[in-house]
């Protein structure tokens, strides 16, 4: 495989400070984020030749030709575009694909953008709180009143059964994210919580309680990816795309119990290998946290601890500020923001960490970051390794 490690960089990033945007169409937030991310890079809209988004899910404003709709709304005529949709981590795949396209010469300045307004969006989801229609293989799943949180609950229940993971250990992840969010003025929730608080919060879908679940916020974010040559003249120091891996796993839920090893175990080693770094060399990890169980499994599959050991790893402070691998330093989806797809926000916090500008807790001397995206019920995975120096 020809590597494009260190051939493209993120030179601009912007996260909307919005958490509640009543009556605002998501495409207006795209415009805000694209404009500000380009300004951050010292570039203008006239420099853009590539546009990537996944904007066809609930409360995102688009439909199935989302990138076409958004490009026109923004007044862009891109010659490179990507609307790969593998769920919440799609934007990380867009960055990986854009880096490859830039390295090949097929594109030069690519904007990857996300926005959603679930707090006010009036049009119901056609997806029945699942990710498929009640047809094809979905006819054996959707009629059972699938609940998104129930699906992750079944995953967590199985992890607890097989590996002895406890509700207290899961709760520790929510507590850590909230402690980080306390330092982020824009986080949705900032008041510290304890393990007991999590365990006392209402049960939503066992074993997941309210505080095991992400916040729901309006907002958006965008990044600008460009070539090494172009990055040299940008306003900000480049954050290099040194490693990228993506993988698809099982989508249907019948084999949910086999999903305790997720496709992160495929994408993670690919990304780390491309960047030429080991888990021990990673200074911070921004891990997709829709529910406490998702970063728990990702920690194992990325190699930050052994399979099945993430519970004790977390309980012993492994993910806290100053721990072996601090995670979700802005407060994560569990406390800062989550509009339905957390991937873009995790990516932007990864960029900020390497710039020394974390929104929450800054890891000192931060040189290598992992950003982990997930889609479906841990069915799709995208891993990026970003660095202050080109690989």
């Amino acid at each position: 495989m020809v590597s494009f490690a260190g051939k493209a960089a993120i030179v601009g990033a912007h996260e909307s400070p919005r958490r509640d945007a009543p009556g605002v169409h998501p495409f207006e937030i795209h415009a805000e984020c694209v404009r500000e991310a380009l300004a951050d890079a010292g570039l203008g809209i006239e420099d853009v030749d590539g546009l990537c988004t996944a904007a066809g899910d609930y409360a995102e404003g688009g439909a199935y030709t989302d990138v076409l709709d958004l490009a026109d709304y923004l007044g862009l005529q891109p010659t490179y575009f990507d609307s790969t949709d593998i769920g919440g981590g799609s934007y990380l795949s867009h960055v990986g694909h854009a880096a490859a396209a830039i390295a090949s010469g097929a594109a030069e300045v690519v904007v990857v953008t996300y926005a959603a307004c679930p707090r006010w969006w009036p049009i119901p989801s056609p997806f029945w709180d699942g990710l498929q229609w009640p047809a094809g293989s979905g006819q054996f799943e959707i009629p059972y009143s699938l609940s998104l949180i129930g699906m992750f609950g079944m995953l967590a229940q199985r992890h607890m059964h097989v590996y002895g993971t406890t509700p207290e250990q899961l709760a520790e992840i929510a507590v850590t994210c909230r402690a980080n969010a306390a330092h982020n003025p824009e986080a949705r929730f900032r008041d510290p919580i304890t393990v007991d608080d999590v365990l006392a919060s209402p049960m939503i879908a066992s074993p997941l309680r309210k505080l095991d679940c992400c916040v729901v916020t309006d907002g958006g974010g965008a990044v600008v990816v460009t070539s090494a040559e172009r990055a040299a003249s940008c306003r900000r120091d480049p954050v290099w795309v040194n490693g990228y891996g993506e993988a698809l796993g099982s989508f249907n839920l019948t084999d949910l119990s086999g999903r305790l090893t997720s496709p992160v175990a495929v994408s993670g080693p690919r990304a780390l290998g491309m960047a030429g770094v080991t888990p021990e060399q990673i200074d911070v990890a921004q891990l997709y946290d829709a529910f406490t169980i998702t970063p728990l499994i990702a920690l194992e599959d990325l190699g930050f601890c052994d399979k099945g050991d993430a519970g004790p790893f977390v309980a012993q402070g492994g993910i806290a500020a100053g721990g072996a691998v601090p995670i979700n330093t802005d407060g994560g989806g569990l406390s800062s923001n989550h509009g339905g797809r957390r991937g873009m926000y995790a990516l932007i916090e990864g960029v900020r960490s390497l710039r020394g500008e974390s929104a929450g807790v800054q890891v000192p001397d931060c040189r290598n970051a992992v950003v982990q995206g997930l889609g479906g019920i841990m069915a799709a995975s995208t891993t990026l390794v970003l660095g202050t120096e080109a690989a």
Binding site: A135, F140, G153, M154, A205
Partner: protein, 134 residues
């Protein structure tokens, strides 16, 4: 019990034999003709080779719970909460997503022995669900 009509399974050419059988109280899965391996959910071919050699076979409906979640709150239009989502492993091997009925949610455990039952949810659909054995 009734469910939102929009959630009713959309029978198709491949899956019609399964739904026809459930109306008669029989549970079918697929067998790969070439290897004898059992397959669920049904498809018009065998994985991973896309071989069209596939046939239906009746199974016992005896299973055990391999994971579950008691759903207390859902944005889903489910008529009653709590309800119990589960994945059960059939004695013959394949696993199915399902719902558990006739059970105290506090009593559900991984490994619980269950048997198939059927809920009539439409004129032509009897939905397989599972209840504790005994």
């Amino acid at each position: 019990m009734t469910i939102d009509q929009a959630l009713l399974p959309v029978r198709d050419e491949t899956t019609a034999p399964f739904w026809d059988a459930t109306l008669e109280g029989r549970l079918l899965v697929q067998r790969v003709t070439a290897t004898g391996a059992l397959q669920w959910p049904p498809r018009g071919f065998a994985r991973p080779g896309l071989d069209p050699g596939i046939e239906w076979t009746e199974v016992s409906g005896r299973a055990q719970v391999s994971t579950f979640s008691v759903v207390h709150r859902s944005s889903h239009a489910h008529p009653t909460t709590p309800y119990v989502l589960a994945v059960v492993e059939l004695e013959e091997g394949p696993s199915m997503l399902t719902r558990l009925i006739d059970v105290d949610p506090d009593e559900v455990r991984i490994g619980l022995a269950v048997d198939v039952a059927y809920e009539q949810v439409g004129d032509r659909i009897a939905l397989p669900v599972f209840r504790p054995r005994g």
